[in-house]
């Protein structure tokens, strides 16, 4: 098995105008998905839970700016490390992620084994 990192961008967190019930219903979908992953022994929980705000330090000059740093659909909203047999398998697992309900994206990146 190899390790992969999912980098989440956009999704419900970057969507405005959701009702409290919609937010809670969406959270439940994450729990269902995470529960299914955990059952399959795939998760390394503790992946990043990112707050909405932050700072950006960029370039030779270390130019420091407030967030948001990207369009909301490109905003990194979290990450998760999973185990899978191959990049193709990890990509397949990502298909079930609830982030797509709100048009988010999952970048699937293999992690070097040290």
């Amino acid at each position: 098995m190899s390790k992969f990192m999912y980098v989440f961008r956009g999704g419900a967190i970057a969507t405005t105008g959701l009702s409290p019930t919609e937010v809670q219903a969406h959270l439940k979908k994450w729990y269902d998905w995470m529960g299914a992953l955990a059952k399959a022994g795939q998760t390394h929980p503790g992946g990043g839970r990112l707050m909405g705000e932050g700072m950006m330090v960029r370039g030779h000059d270390r130019t420091t700016t407030d967030g948001p740093y990207a369009e909301s659909k490109d905003l990194i909203t979290g990450n998760l490390i999973i185990e899978a047999a191959s990049l193709a398998a990890a990509t397949e697992i990502a298909q079930g992620c609830p982030i797509f309900e709100f048009d988010g994206s999952v970048e699937v990146r293999p992690i070097h084994e040290m």
């Binding site: 419900a12 967190i13 405005t16 105008g17 959701l18 009702s19 409290p20 019930t21 919609e22 937010v23 809670q24 969406h26 959270l27 439940k28 994450w30 729990y31 995470m34 529960g35 955990a38 998760t43 390394h44 929980p45 503790g46 992946g47 839970r49 990112l50 707050m51 909405g52 909203t77 979290g78 998760l80």
Partner: protein, 426 residues
């Protein structure tokens, strides 16, 4: 190294909806209705933060987490606002310091104070300048925590209509210097009828809801019952009318479970399993009706609660005290003459004196333009025809009822009546 597995993460019931409504009322009371948009943003932010922070597992006390986050966020935003103001008008900032603000927020977020804030919000919303539809819309938004799409779905209107009502309501609320104070303001009694009517519409939307597949539908009845209980809990807002409305909700609410079958189709009163009616709610209704029976006032809520009580306590349709019900409908019609009351009265007359008398009573509303798109109107004629044994006419009327029905739950219920008659007739 592997970290511990995430906690089994289940967020109970409608925590987000309830807490957001409680927070909006509490924060608006402290920060003033002028800051309503800020308050709505702060609460929305707290929920989205929860979505982000809890994705891998919920905290031990989710409710406390949301409240704390919203509070900190509010202080943060106000701090930033003050800094901004101080920049443009140095020395103009005479507002209390942050410590005092944090203390007043903490105080406002305590249970009893949140109830007081919700009452304040309810009375602020139900002003005569706004229509009854707008009152209910604002209650659903600011006291029940529903979003525009959900309110639109409950009312069967489009989202822009709801957004327009919310916009009007927000403007009106923002123009108030502070939220209404039910303990100090002297026209509580004058505003109460609008508040009660709004809660009645809210309950009705849940009870006769047009969208049976909507999971929030039953929650509307619960919310109406919760808010009327809030009115009952304070000496300043409790009155015989309030208790009467609470009784009406309790008697109808007791039947909520049985009025729809497992297949989501309405079950006629005569076919409902009365043993499954909610005993605790029936008892609560009787207690409320007792409290309502003080003072000289006989409001429409008293009469409607009386009718609902007769149905609720009868062991069957046959054992129902129809004479009492007809008398109550007479009183209701005297108070609120209208085609729907006349229609229901005619059905009670039919039970008491037979189909011919019922039909004569129905003649008063026959062809009423306000009723022809109302399924119960056609169902009334159909029921009487069925009992007379006139299958053809009954079928025709049930088909009309099905045609104008407002949901699948209603339509299929009438189609089943047709099928039953056809089976028996053929």
């Amino acid at each position: 190294m592997r970290e511990p597995a995430p906690r089994p993460a289940e967020i109970a019931g409608d925590l987000f909806r309830r807490e957001s409504a409680r927070l909006v009322a509490a924060l608006t009371r402290v920060l003033g209705p002028t800051n309503l948009p800020l308050v709505e943003d702060v609460v929305q932010d707290a929920l989205v933060s929860a979505l982000s922070a809890w994705q891998l597992g919920a905290p031990n006390d989710p409710r406390a987490w949301i409240i704390r986050t919203a509070k900190n966020r509010a202080i943060d935003v106000i701090r930033r606002q003050r800094r901004h103001t101080a920049l443009f008008a140095p020395g103009a900032d005479d507002a209390p310091d942050e410590g005092a603000l944090a203390r007043s927020l903490d105080h406002a977020l305590e249970g009893a104070e949140v109830d007081a804030s919700q009452l304040a919000m309810m009375f602020s919303i139900c002003h005569d300048d706004l229509s009854a539809d707008t009152h209910v819309t604002l209650i659903l938004r600011f006291l029940c925590g529903l979003g525009s799409r959900e309110i639109a779905r409950a009312f069967l209107v489009d989202v822009p209509t709801i957004d327009r009502r919310l916009h009007r309501g927000r403007e009106r609320l923002q123009s108030l210097g502070r939220l209404y104070d039910v303990e100090a303001d002297d026209d509580v009694r004058a505003r109460l009828p609008s508040v009660l009517r709004a809660l009645y519409l809210l309950f009705n939307e849940g009870f006769h809801g047009t969208d049976a597949e909507n999971p929030l539908q039953a929650a509307l009845c619960d919310e109406a019952m919760r808010l009327v209980a809030l009115l009952q809990s304070r000496a300043s807002t409790a009155s015989p009318e309030v208790h009467a409305l609470a009784a009406l909700f309790a008697f109808l609410g007791a039947r909520l479970e049985t009025r729809m079958g497992d297949d989501g189709i309405f079950v006629p009163l005569a076919e409902q399993d009365r043993a499954r009616w909610n005993r605790a709610l029936l008892d609560h209704g009787v207690v409320c009706l007792g409290m309502a029976a003080t003072g000289p006032e006989l409001s429409r809520w008293h009469i409607e609660a009386g009718i609902a009580c007769e149905h609720a306590l009868a062991t069957s349709v046959e054992a129902t005290r129809w004479a009492q019900i007809v008398t109550l409908y007479d009183a209701l019609y005297a108070l609120l003459p209208g085609p729907v009351v006349a229609l229901n009265r005619a059905l009670a007359v039919a039970e008491l004196e037979g189909e011919a008398a019922g039909l004569r009573a129905l003649d008063a509303v026959r062809g009423d333009a306000r009723l022809v798109s109302y399924p119960f109107y056609w169902a009334a004629f159909a029921d009487l025809a069925r009992r007379r044994g006139d299958v053809a006419e009954a079928v025709a009327h049930y088909e009309s009822a099905a045609r104008v029905s407002r949901s699948r739950a209603e339509r299929v219920a009438y189609e089943r009546q047709v099928a039953k008659l056809v089976r028996r007739g053929g």
